[in-house]
């Protein structure tokens, strides 16, 4: 198709837009359109014309939490993009203000999850990002404190994490126990897989819980944490299934 005629271009472009090309042909067209302005123009023209047919497509409603899932993935992408920067010499550029702003954005998002009916495991798969720990050479061994809030006033839990010793302490503040329910702590990190992993049960929020976390400090620094409300005995699926409470993170140097 190096010396494609206009006729060939039009047919190729239209078939590409219709979707009738096989995967190899589609790939070839995607490559070729970057080098052939006429082909690219023909594709755009056919897209605009054939798109009128979309009026025949009936609207359909996906599951209601999909936007939250998308926003979560956007957050994760942003966090991943920021992560290499924070490892570099520009670590100090991540000021406390930035941390708080980022977390407030997460908080706004997570607020929508709080009292949603979380009956499906698909929803549970979205309950990933609660608190992101910034990393900094100066902060490597400094404890971090995260507050998990169930509303905009008082925190439900406070968690402190000493990355050097991997000692984690979760203390209930306003969290209330519920009959037949238990709180469960989760960690999510690309280092340990795509799904959140349980850090254990927090019980019914009657007292402080301490845990020794068996993850490398490097993993912990970039991990995300969350607390969900689960049936007694913990999540039956191995993933968060209950309502999530969100948190704010403060370096202890504040």
């Amino acid at each position: 198709m190096k010396n494609a005629t206009d006729k060939e271009r039009q047919i190729l472009a239209a078939e590409f837009v219709l979707g009738t090309l096989d995967k190899n042909e589609r790939h070839a067209v995607k490559v070729q359109r970057k080098q052939d302005a006429k082909l690219n123009k023909a594709i755009i023209d056919w897209q605009n014309h054939f798109s009128e047919l979309n009026q025949y497509v009936d609207e359909r409603t996906p599951r209601p939490d999909l936007l939250d899932c998308i926003l979560t993935k956007i957050d994760q992408q942003n966090a991943n993009e920021k992560s290499p920067l924070s490892k570099s010499q520009t670590v100090n550029a991540m000021s406390q203000d930035q941390v708080i702003i980022d977390l407030q954005a997460m908080r706004a998002k997570l607020k929508r999850w709080q009292f949603a009916a979380l009956s499906s495991s698909a929803v549970a798969a979205c309950l990933l990002v609660f608190v992101v720990l910034p990393s900094s050479p100066e902060q490597t061994n400094a404890p971090f404190i995260a507050t998990f809030q169930s509303d905009d006033s008082q925190p439900a839990f406070i968690m402190s994490l000493d990355i050097a010793t991997r000692q984690l302490t979760v203390r209930p503040i306003t969290a209330q126990g519920q009959v037949g329910k238990t709180y469960q702590l989760w960690i999510k990190s690309d280092d340990i897989g795509p799904s959140p992993r349980s850090l254990g049960l927090l019980g019914d929020a009657t007292g402080q819980v301490q845990k020794q976390i068996d993850y490398a400090s490097g993993t912990l620094r970039h991990a995300t944490f969350g607390i969900s409300l689960e049936p007694a005995g913990g999540s039956p699926t191995g993933l968060p299934t209950g309502p999530a409470i969100h948190g704010k993170l403060y370096p202890t140097s504040l």
């Binding site: 837009v17 979707g19 995967k23 056919w46 014309h49 359909r60 998308i70």
Partner: protein, 173 residues
């Protein structure tokens, strides 16, 4: 405009954009994939792409919904073609396709775009017009069109190419 605001990483605008378009895009994806969970998975990818690529949207090239629907269809078609075997290597002789495109009728000039496209498709004659619509709306491959319209693959290719040529003339492309 919501897409422009989305390009500036405006989450509220993105959420509004999602709420105003997701049912349509999900309809497009689901009509092709015909599977709820898979369609939802792909729809997530589509909106992530919309978020990432929104700064490249050009208002003078296409409408926002056309741009978004194009992203949706491209991703969906890629998905359904991913695991399909390629068509045979039979070469198509483009020159053998008769140039029977029609000059557009004046009556179409003031019609709305869909009416114009419909009229042009109708000119292709049954079942070629239906075949083009089935390819676009249902994401059928040539092989699937061959089975659906009970015609040899070579005939489907010829119908497609001839139909495209006719449409090109009819729609002044």
């Amino acid at each position: 405009m919501l897409l422009n605001k989305t390009a500036q990483q405006d989450r509220e605008a993105f959420a509004m954009l999602y709420h105003s378009t997701h049912r349509k895009l999900f309809g497009i994806v689901h009509r092709i994939l015909k599977h709820d969970a898979k369609s939802e998975e792909i729809l997530q990818e589509i909106y992530l792409k919309i978020w990432e690529k929104s700064s490249s949207y050009q208002a003078d090239v296409s409408s926002p919904i056309t741009w978004m629907a194009t992203i949706a269809r491209n991703r969906t078609i890629d998905e359904v073609r991913k695991n399909q075997l390629p068509d045979s290597d039979e070469e198509i002789d483009f020159d053998s396709i008769i140039d029977d495109s029609m000059a557009p009728e004046d009556a179409f000039a003031k019609s709305k775009e869909l009416s114009k496209l419909e009229s042009c498709l109708a000119e292709l004659g049954a079942p070629r017009g239906e075949m083009i619509k089935a390819a676009y709306l249902d994401g059928y491959s040539r092989q699937e069109l061959s089975e659906r319209f009970n015609q040899p693959l070579g005939t489907i290719k010829t119908w497609l190419h001839r139909g495209i040529k006719q449409l090109q003339g009819c729609m002044k492309l």
